[in-house]
Assembly symmetry: C2
Homo-oligomer: 363 residues x 2
């Protein structure tokens, strides 16, 4: 993948929704922003991480907050540029490229928008290979890059610059600002040099999203099984097929927590399955047996349309497939698991790689 044209965006958005693992928000608004920017400014050049010089400045561009809010509180359009340019000014250097912070969800498309309007290349990589809810949960940060200085801006024209003592404090200070800005802010964050990016980025995730979206689209035309295609492209596993029979949700903590119960159909007839989520799907159980846990990806797709189902769209009666996808090996270190493993999210289980857990599961 050497460039992103308007017609590529729908594949990237679909793939990003799969990689969002139920979270990261509907890419729709980001896709519309990126379409508009590419129509005006031309296609976005895509480069590999290795094409950057060690001393190049690279800046991730992202949205923070509740993606659902953006469907009603539309961006004015220039917030990502405002944040990006302000961060360049603080650092005193022009950026050589934009990089996504998340491969999954809305934040797959925001950096495409930013790259288009700024005339910068987009790095085919990101800091997660999926979606996560908090600022420190980024490979760049776990690898030692400071999230700050970071710049937040809103559609009204307010900007806030945070310089925190560590990445945990970047989250503590920016979350209430995001809420005050109306639950959505555009960020320029984790400024880093090319050397850090090359060392820490999860590679080729923009093109992976594209490939997933394209394959699902081709599948729909060919009437082959989207589950098989998805597992082939992602290296994933079908974990379960069934009908959602129970969903509980709790928003009191500011994150969407809950679980969905699924009764088996077809090969899984008679079995019961449970997905526990907090914005993203985080832990999955077949009966009493753990079958997948964060940071591996647990993605739910609609059995009829093969479209990704985000956690806010888990509904009684919906027939779904649950797919498990191995996360990037980066996340499987003890240090990374301390930030994104099931115990961080208060689930009383130890992480085990999905490849081990699915041994013996019907694929």
């Amino acid at each position: 993948m050497t460039e992103i044209r308007i017609e590529d965006l729908r594949y990237i958005a679909t793939g990003a929704a799969i990689l969002g693992a139920g979270g990261g928000g509907d890419p729709l608004v980001g896709r519309l922003m990126a379409e508009h920017a590419i129509a005006k400014c031309g296609p976005v050049r895509v480069i590999g991480a290795d094409q950057l010089d060690d001393s190049d400045l690279v800046i991730p561009s992202a949205m923070m907050g509740a993606p659902a809010v953006m469907l009603e509180k539309l961006p004015s359009g220039n917030e990502p540029e405002v944040s990006f340019r302000a961060l360049e000014k603080i650092i005193g250097k022009k950026a050589a490229a934009v990089v996504p912070i998340e491969a999954g969800g809305l934040n797959s498309c925001i950096p495409i928008y930013t790259a288009a309007v700024l005339g910068l290349p987009l790095v085919d990589a990101d800091g997660m290979g999926r979606a996560f809810p908090e600022l420190p949960m980024v490979s760049f940060g776990i690898g030692g890059v400071s999230a700050t200085p970071m710049v937040m801006s809103d559609e009204k024209g307010n900007t806030v610059v945070i310089d925190a003592i560590d990445n945990a404090w970047s989250e503590i200070l920016s979350r209430p600002v995001t809420i005050a800005m109306g639950l959505a802010a555009m960020l320029a964050i984790y400024p880093m040099d090319g050397a850090a990016l090359k060392k820490l980025a999860i590679r080729n995730t923009v093109s992976l999203a594209y490939k997933i979206g394209k394959a699902l689209d081709d599948t729909n035309q060919a009437l082959t099984s989207p589950v098989e295609v998805l597992c082939e492209v992602t290296g994933g596993f079908r974990l379960f097929t069934g009908k959602i029979v129970d969903v509980t949700r709790d928003m009191t903590t500011g994150f969407l927590r809950g679980e969905a119960g699924i009764d088996g159909l077809g090969d899984d007839d008679g079995a019961t399955f449970r997905v526990e989520f907090q914005n993203e799907n985080l832990v999955a159980w077949n009966g009493d047996r753990l079958v997948a846990a964060t940071p591996d990806l647990i993605t739910v797709i609609d059995a009829e349309t093969a479209g990704p189902v985000t956690t806010e769209n888990l509904q009684y009666g919906r027939r779904v497939h649950v797919i498990g996808i191995p996360c990037d090996p980066f996340w499987r270190s003890t240090e990374a698991l301390a930030q994104v493993g099931p115990r961080y999210f208060a689930y009383d289980v130890d992480y085990q790689p999905i490849e081990h857990l699915v041994e013996g599961v019907n694929q």
Copy 2:
């Protein structure tokens, strides 16, 4: 007053507590910081507003949050400098002087500390002539100076820079940051030039605080009436003398709201008085008759010690005098009253100057 020495600080702190009108916080921590800084760096030179050139940069230095928190969460000591220097850097110019934003409470002393450690003169003026709870309630702001760029810093080393579209948004964005910083942040805010300061500052309020504190101290030694002395120095009026018989408080809105009922003693025997407060004392009633309203100052002093009683120290059984002091004429414009008059604080009364209200009241 041409300089502030260590021995002057206790008078300024006492006078500032009177001018705090029940709010603004106990000046103690600020006074200790200022004492320490003057001991180390020497006395602070005090200048009149007219000694500034029109093009000089002047920066107010202040604390935001809950002053009571600072009694337990002590500043590391250099936050005011960190904020001040960061704001100078953003503006690209060195400041010629520090100015207080409030004459009342803790923020009387913070700028003395800052001036001492930075070796800058302190302007004998402020932006209120009293204390108020919100960032836009400052003469500079009402006169058109932007509160931002503003810099907030905490004792841990975090800094946040806010650039807001208007002063109301500076409050909306900074309040949750203050809470996240642990309910106390040190600000550099309302950067302005000498011309704006000369036009908008409430003059000679540092020396007024000193005069009030000194007069009360002399009074205590001479056993003359502190109420008479206070009224003479401030141009104020004794509104009531009695015993506090009822206090209600509500913290649910993040501000300390409530009221104190006072039964008359001596000349006021048989009468009942009521002070309504939200951080500061805002409205006072003798029976059903309004006798003082914000922005005029309503200050409660202990009948035995003549010491100022802040709203958090209003207690059943305490014998007190209530003093009303005319605010600076700046606050009596329609525009200013819209920001700080009783209706802004949701009291269903119109502002009337205290000089009119007290006609016929026994002084």
